[in-house]
Subunit: 440 residues, 2 copies
């Protein structure tokens, strides 16, 4: 395993610079222009701080995880489009436990800041230890891990496992996709059963409950061949009761299960930084510890029973789905009423009407770019699961039902495979609105 | 006027400490235990940074605006309940333009941080200048300002004006409320007309369009007596077309108008830190500059025509109203499905399903505390305005309509005057759910 003393490689007095721009043609909270990559998840920071971190990152040895990752700083809070921050970082001290930087970050167009901000950013105790942990991911005896389903999420998991030097077995119905992973070092299994026979942990990342059923219990299904005590990590979005039943059936066969729905999208899956909303027995978590380190930035442990992870994921999807549809309804009405859409975005992103999804998806509308990061059909499916589950309880969900109808309307209009912000087209087509055009 | 050289009062080497705790019994993103007040609006920071700022604030002379205000750092991002941060700040440098602090902030229970964070926090160029500007609020010739309507928002505006030493005239139908303001130094007017006769700026903060019409154009209405060139600041929530018509009618009488709907709630109004979504002629803004400095932390200038401010406010209210109802629907389903409500809150606050309102209102549900910060009936009214406006355009709003029905259902159940998070009771009463009980 790769192991190194990070501190020994960092030279006091070294300086680095970074420039971050909130790029109009892109999802705004994603900070870019391709110059610096700032990861996007929960903890909010401002662009000033993001630039400061980016400058610090320049001072780390090549191939390291980003400082942002190490510091759990992932999400750049709502920031005006066009905002530009330049930062300079200097290493002012290094010891066994930490690295100190001094940073000057300047909000070039003074959109949120007041000119020059200076801080010595971020001496994190345990920093070095944590870097070591990241570098030694997967250290010790290597578990054989299987991935069933090599779509955008499962493919990312397989990549992350390969990067962490796991013995990675893969299976997918598409031979050409399997081939690309074999070229990267994965071992192709002919069937889920063949994969199950040789793996201690099997990650199932197929599309839905039906496919999960098939790859685990169908003809040549994995469970027929898995050894007792092996773990199924069930990561397709399942209704909580389906996840619960799955856990019981696996237990009957002497197998462990982690109910482990994921979020974060394809980019996070590829970089090994998904969020996992997980529940399962402690012994199952123990067996998956290194696997989760390789594939996830955050693992919420939500209980010991299958179904508990899926419940939290279901509620999150309910809100995410309603919020995207609400963002589309709001922007469409605003445009109809003659408000400037960019101004709406900028003011509301900083007001009580904001949501994570408003901040993330409205830039797609402003840019006229409906390239699917997550497609309309995903929410046709996921809100369908929410509604079906609630129906079993005879529990009414008027907002979720209305949102689901909007995704169905978008799919009916032919936008099912486009970005989920295409829900705005339902309103546009009904009311003859002109939406922002795609910029070159 | 109070004027001072802030830098001269700050002693290098001075130290201050602060402790911030995210208090379970309170709205979580509000940081408290009464020890330190961190203001809550747009720009997101983490609790570490908030504690650092709070410690720095201890080093400022008494009576100053908080550093948070000066730095435009207002909102503490979603943070685990129970999180505790201790910070120590030291003044390390003062010059004519800035103050430098070194800060050590420790995430005591290591919920989001990694132990000790150290930074030299925040040398803001223009800092001193900005302090001077805050201190000199209302400097120069004092404008006579009128406030019509002394409810929670209008009363806060009157307090802020009095604090900034404006000659403040007030009128309200409730004599006992007027009396309390007279005791604080306000001048009581017998009618809106009497107030209009002596004021250069008249802030109208009554409940709705009908009352706005009455106090401006009804019997003894203000406009009959106002001098040409005086400004009406119209801050009740009005439909955009109503605001537009109001501007035209005032212009006919030689009066200026700022379409100035407000947000931020009663606490922000009282501390002079509302957000104003404003449109109007540059000359109107020029006349209101000092008034706005006294009553608002943030003024968005959204155009020169009446109606433009109200459009943005309307879209913000649409989203705020839908998001509160969605938060209630989600939490209710989660409880019905057997998920732990606190866990739901903590995970989703940090996930793609989060919204400003989810973070702000769900703690009321968790605490079983429906003391109205903003009442159900406010959204009965505001979403009504949104729906009425859209109906004039023949524009469908399925989500807003569903959310409005939920506020109406809550009002029908007798919860109209309770906190708007009471929408969760609609679901609870329909489905026989047990919601979290009020803790003592």
């Amino acid at each position: 395993m790769q192991r190194m003393d990070l501190a020994a490689q960092i030279r006091p007095g070294a300086t680095g610079t970074a420039e971050l721009v909130v790029d109009e043609s892109h999802t705004a909270p994603r900070v870019g222009s391709g110059r610096v990559h700032v990861l996007a998840t929960p903890v909010m920071i401002n662009l000033i701080e993001a630039a400061a971190l980016a400058a610090c990152e320049k001072l780390l040895p090549e191939g390291h995880q980003s400082l942002g990752t190490l510091l759990n700083v992932r999400h750049v809070a709502a920031t005006p489009v066009g905002m530009r921050v330049r930062a300079m970082a200097e290493v002012i001290g290094v010891d066994g436990r930490s690295i100190r930087f001094r940073v000057e970050a300047r909000d070039e167009n003074e959109l949120i800041g007041d000119g020059t901000h200076e801080r010595v950013v971020v001496n994190v105790a345990k920093f070095d230890a944590r870097v070591q942990k990241k570098l030694s991911r997967g250290g010790g005896a290597m578990t054989a891990v299987g991935v069933i389903g090599l779509g955008s999420m499962g493919g990312g998991v397989a990549q992350s496992l390969l990067r962490a030097k796991f013995e990675t077995h893969v299976v997918d119905v598409r031979a050409e996709v399997v081939k690309t992973f074999v070229e990267q070092g994965a071992k192709a299994a002919a069937t889920p059963a063949a994969l199950g026979a040789v793996c201690e942990v099997v990650v199932v990342l197929v599309v839905n409950a039906e496919q999960t059923e098939k790859v685990l219990f169908g003809e040549h299904g994995a469970t027929a061949a898995m050894k007792k005590g092996a773990v199924v990590v069930s990561s397709a979005t399942l209704a909580p009761d389906v996840a619960e039943q799955l856990g019981a059936r696996l237990a009957e066969r002497g197998l462990l299960m982690i109910d482990a729905p994921v979020s974060g999208g394809a980019a996070k899956a590829a970089s090994g930084e998904m969020t996992i909303m997980a529940s399962g027995a402690p012994e199952a978590f123990a067996k998956c510890e290194n696997v989760f380190k390789a594939i996830a930035a955050k693992v919420y442990r939500l209980g010991e029973r299958a179904g508990q992870g899926s419940k939290v994921k279901m509620i999150n999807q309910l809100l995410a789905g309603v919020h995207i549809a609400a963002a589309c309804e709001a922007m469409a009405l605003g445009i109809r009423a003659g408000a400037d859409p960019k101004t709406l975005y900028e003011v509301i992103s900083n007001s009580a009407g904001s949501s994570w999804m408003f901040q993330n998806r409205v830039p797609h509308i402003l840019a006229g770019d409906y390239t699917p990061l997550s497609a309309v059909n995903i929410f046709v499916k996921d809100l369908g699961i929410v509604l079906d589950t609630a129906r079993k309880f005879a529990f009414p969900l008027p907002l979720t039902a209305a949102a689901h109808q909007l995704y169905l309307a978008a799919a009916a209009q032919g936008h099912g495979l486009e970005d989920d912000a295409s829900v705005v087209k339902v309103y546009a087509e009904l009311a003859g609105l002109e939406l922002p055009k795609r910029t070159a």
